[in-house]
C-alpha cells in the first residue's frame, strides 16, 4: 500500500488516475448533495445511462476518439434525457419512477445498439469505446485530467457562485420564487451542472454505475452533519477518497474495470457512516434502544418485587408465579436485583434494601404523575 502511495507521486499514469478520480469524487459529491436534497437522486442515474448513445453518436459523426468530444456527446445526450423525463412528467400522468425507468432503459438500449453497430462495422479505430460502460481508469492521461479540471472547475465555481440560491431552491422552491428568484432557470442550471459531473465520471466509473457516485457520497455525508456546507464538504471528501482508492485498486491489475471498485469503496464508506456516524449511526441508536429496554425491564422487575415484598413473601417461587415464568428465570432475576443492591437475602427469602425501597417509591411516584398527565389542563 505504501508503495502504491509512493507511486502516486512518482508514476505518471498512476498520478493521472488518482487526480482524475479524485476530481470525479469531489464534483460528484457536491452536485449529488443537491440532487439528493431535491429528491432527484435517480435523475442522475438516467443522465448517466443516457450518456452512452451520445458517446457513440459523437464517435460515429466525427470518427474521432478525442475524449473531450465523446464526453460532450455523452453530456448532451444525458441532458436531453433529463429534459425528456421532465417533459413526460409535465404533460402526462405517468408516475415519476416509470418516466425515469423508460428514459433510462430506452436511451441505454439505443446506446448498446449503437455500440454494437460500431463494433461490428470493422472500424479499426473503435476499440476502447466500451471502456465508458464500466470505466477504465488506466486510460486516463494528462490531457483528460486537464479536461476534467475544466469541466469540474466550471461546475464547482458555479455552485460556489449560486450557493445561497441553490440552497434556498433545494429547501423551499415556492418561497424562493416568491422572493423573485428564477426557480426554473436555477433548477435547469443545477441539472446541467450534474451533467458536467457525469461527464467527469464517464471515463473513470462509466455510465452504468455513475449514479452511485452522485448518491452515495451525499447520503454518507448526511449521517455525519446537520449543516449543508459541511455536508457538501464531506460528500466531496468521501467521493474523492472512494474515487482514488477504487482507481488505484483497479490499476494494480490488468483488465480490472474501475467503476465497480470505486462503487464498492463508496458503498463501504456509506455503510460505515450509516452504522457508526456519531450523530445518526444505527449502532448508537440500537445501543440506546437496548439500554432503554433493559432499564424498563429492571424497573418493572423491581416494582414486582416491591409488590410481593409488601403484600406477601418475596421468594423465587412467588416471583415465578407472579410473573408467570420458570423458577430458574425468577432466581436469576432476583440475583440480578441483588447485584444492583436493591435486594438482600432475608430469613423468609428476599427483602428490599433501603435503596431498593427508595427506588421503587420513586418509580411509583413517577408513574402516578405519568398517569395523571393526559387528564391535566
Amino acid at each position: 500500500m505504501l508503495e502504491l502511495l509512493h507511486q502516486v507521486f512518482t508514476d505518471y499514469t498512476l498520478r493521472n488516475v488518482a487526480l482524475g478520480s479524485a476530481l470525479l469524487g469531489v464534483v460528484g459529491g457536491v452536485l449529488g448533495a443537491f440532487a439528493m436534497l431535491r429528491r432527484q437522486s435517480l435523475l442522475g442515474d438516467v443522465l448517466a445511462h443516457a450518456a452512452l448513445p451520445g458517446i457513440c453518436l459523437a464517435f460515429i459523426l466525427t470518427g474521432s476518439k478525442q475524449p473531450l468530444l465523446l464526453l460532450l456527446g455523452g453530456g448532451l445526450a444525458g441532458w436531453l434525457a433529463s429534459l425528456a423525463v421532465l417533459a413526460v412528467l409535465r404533460h402526462t400522468r405517468l408516475p415519476e419512477d416509470s418516466a425515469l425507468g423508460v428514459m433510462l432503459s430506452s436511451f441505454f438500449g439505443f446506446g448498446v445498439a449503437l455500440l454494437t453497430f460500431i463494433q461490428h462495422s470493422n472500424n479499426a479505430n473503435q476499440a476502447g469505446l466500451d471502456q465508458f460502460i464500466f470505466g477504465q481508469a488506466a486510460t486516463i492521461v494528462a490531457s483528460d485530467v486537464l479536461a476534467f479540471v475544466g469541466l469540474g472547475g466550471v461546475a464547482l465555481f458555479t455552485v460556489g457562485l449560486f450557493y445561497k440560491e441553490f440552497k434556498l431552491l433545494s429547501f423551499d422552491p415556492d418561497y424562493a420564487q416568491s422572493l423573485g428568484l428564477p426557480v426554473r432557470g436555477l433548477g435547469t442550471l443545477l441539472t446541467s451542472l450534474t451533467v458536467l459531473a457525469v461527464m467527469v465520471g464517464l471515463q473513470t466509473v462509466g455510465v452504468v454505475l455513475m449514479a452511485a457516485m452522485l448518491i452515495a457520497p451525499a447520503a454518507a455525508a448526511r449521517q455525519w452533519t446537520d449543516r449543508l456546507s459541511a455536508l457538501i464538504g464531506l460528500a466531496a471528501l468521501f467521493g474523492a477518497l472512494a474515487g482514488v482508492s477504487g482507481a488505484l485498486l483497479s490499476a494494480t491489475r490488468d483488465n480490472l474495470p474501475t467503476g465497480p471498485l470505486v462503487i464498492l469503496c463508496i458503498s463501504a464508506i456509506l455503510l460505515v457512516s450509516l452504522f457508526l456516524a456519531p450523530l445518526r449511526g444505527l449502532v448508537w441508536a440500537w445501543l440506546r434502544d437496548r439500554q432503554n429496554r433493559r432499564r424498563i425491564y429492571l424497573e418493572r422487575l423491581l416494582l414486582d418485587a416491591h409488590l410481593l415484598h409488601n403484600h406477601a413473601v418475596l421468594t423465587p417461587q412467588t416471583l415465578a408465579q407472579h410473573r408467570r415464568e420458570s423458577l430458574s428465570a425468577a432466581e436469576r432475576e432476583l440475583r440480578m436485583l441483588q447485584a444492583w443492591g436493591w435486594l438482600e437475602a432475608s430469613s423468609t427469602g428476599y427483602a428490599l434494601t433501603p435503596t431498593g425501597h427508595a427506588k421503587a417509591h420513586e418509580l411509583e411516584a413517577a408513574m402516578r404523575v405519568g398517569a395523571k398527565a393526559p387528564g391535566g389542563p
Partner: protein
C-alpha cells in the same frame, strides 16, 4: 415624501378579473378583490375553495388564465421587496440539513441580491426576528428537531426578516400549539400597529372574528369581502359554505 404617500394611496393589494384554471377546470373564477391598508384580512372558505391557490396565483407561483394584480399600485416585479410570503409548513422537507437561524436568514436573500453571502448584520437581523416569535433560544437547532408549532414560528420569523409591508400567510394556525398560536397573534398585532397589511388563509370560523378585522369569503369566486362585522353574516356564510351548513353549525349569533 410626497411621492411615497401617493404610492401608498394605492391599496396594498388589488386584483381584477383573476381566473385560474387547473387541469382544465376553473379553481378561481373572475376574482375582483381589494385589501385595504393596515388590515388583518382573513380568507375563509370551504375545502377546495381555492384559498391557497388565490395566494399562489396572486404571488405569481401559479400561472393565471387571465387577470391583473397590483401591489401598492405596482406590478409584482416592482413591488417584490415589499411583499413577504409564509407558505404552509408541510410543503418543505424538515429533514433538510440546516439550522433555524439559516432558515430565517433566507428571508434576507432577496435583499442581499445575487452572489453575496449573509454575514454578521444578517445574523443579527435574523436573531431579532426569532426573538419576536420567542425562538431565539433555538436559533442553532437543526430544523428537524422542532415541533410543528416551532416550525411555523420559524417560517413566520423568516417572513418578518423580509421587513415587508404586505404579508401573505397560508394556514399559519393549522395544527399549532397554544404557545405558537399566541406568538402568531402577537406578531399579527405588532404588524397591524406598524401599519402593515396581512392576508391570512384561515380555516377556523370559531376564531376568525376574534383574530381578524377584515374578511374575504371565497368559494371559487369571491362571495363577499369587507370589514369583519359587515361581512361575517349568516347569509354570506351560507352562500359560501352552501345550504347544507345550517345556523347550528355556524358560530355566528353575535353574543356581544
Amino acid at each position: 415624501m410626497t411621492a411615497h404617500s401617493t404610492t401608498d394611496a394605492q391599496p396594498p393589494l388589488s386584483v381584477r378579473d383573476l381566473t385560474v384554471v387547473y387541469h382544465e377546470k376553473p379553481v378561481l373564477w373572475d376574482i375582483d378583490w381589494e385589501v385595504p391598508a393596515g388590515r388583518l384580512c382573513a380568507i375563509v372558505g370551504p375545502n377546495g375553495a381555492g384559498k391557497s391557490t388565490l395566494l399562489k396565483a396572486v404571488l405569481g407561483l401559479l400561472p393565471r388564465a387571465s387577470g391583473q394584480v397590483w401591489f401598492f399600485g405596482k406590478t409584482l416585479a416592482q413591488a417584490r421587496a415589499r411583499i413577504a410570503y409564509v407558505p404552509q409548513r408541510g410543503t418543505v422537507d424538515w429533514d433538510f440539513p440546516t439550522s433555524v437561524l439559516d432558515v430565517v436568514m433566507m428571508g434576507l436573500y432577496g435583499r442581499l441580491g445575487w452572489f453575496k453571502r449573509p454575514g454578521a448584520p444578517e445574523r443579527e437581523a435574523a436573531l431579532r426576528c426569532l426573538e419576536q416569535v420567542s425562538m431565539q433560544a433555538l436559533a442553532h437547532r437543526q430544523i428537524a428537531q422542532l415541533s410543528g408549532g416551532q416550525q411555523q414560528r420559524v417560517f413566520l420569523a423568516r417572513a418578518l426578516a423580509q421587513n415587508a409591508d404586505l404579508y401573505f400567510m397560508d394556514e399559519p394556525f393549522a395544527g399549532v400549539d397554544a404557545v405558537t398560536e399566541e406568538a402568531i397573534l402577537r406578531v399579527l398585532h405588532q404588524l397591524k400597529q406598524q401599519g402593515k397589511t396581512v392576508v391570512v388563509v384561515h380555516h377556523d370560523l370559531e376564531t376568525v372574528r376574534a383574530y381578524f378585522d377584515h374578511l374575504t369569503l371565497l368559494n371559487v369566486q369571491v362571495i363577499a369581502s369587507g370589514p369583519m362585522e359587515a361581512t361575517f353574516t349568516p347569509e354570506n356564510l351560507k352562500r359560501t359554505y352552501g345550504e347544507r351548513m345550517t345556523g347550528a353549525s355556524l358560530p355566528m349569533a353575535p353574543s356581544g
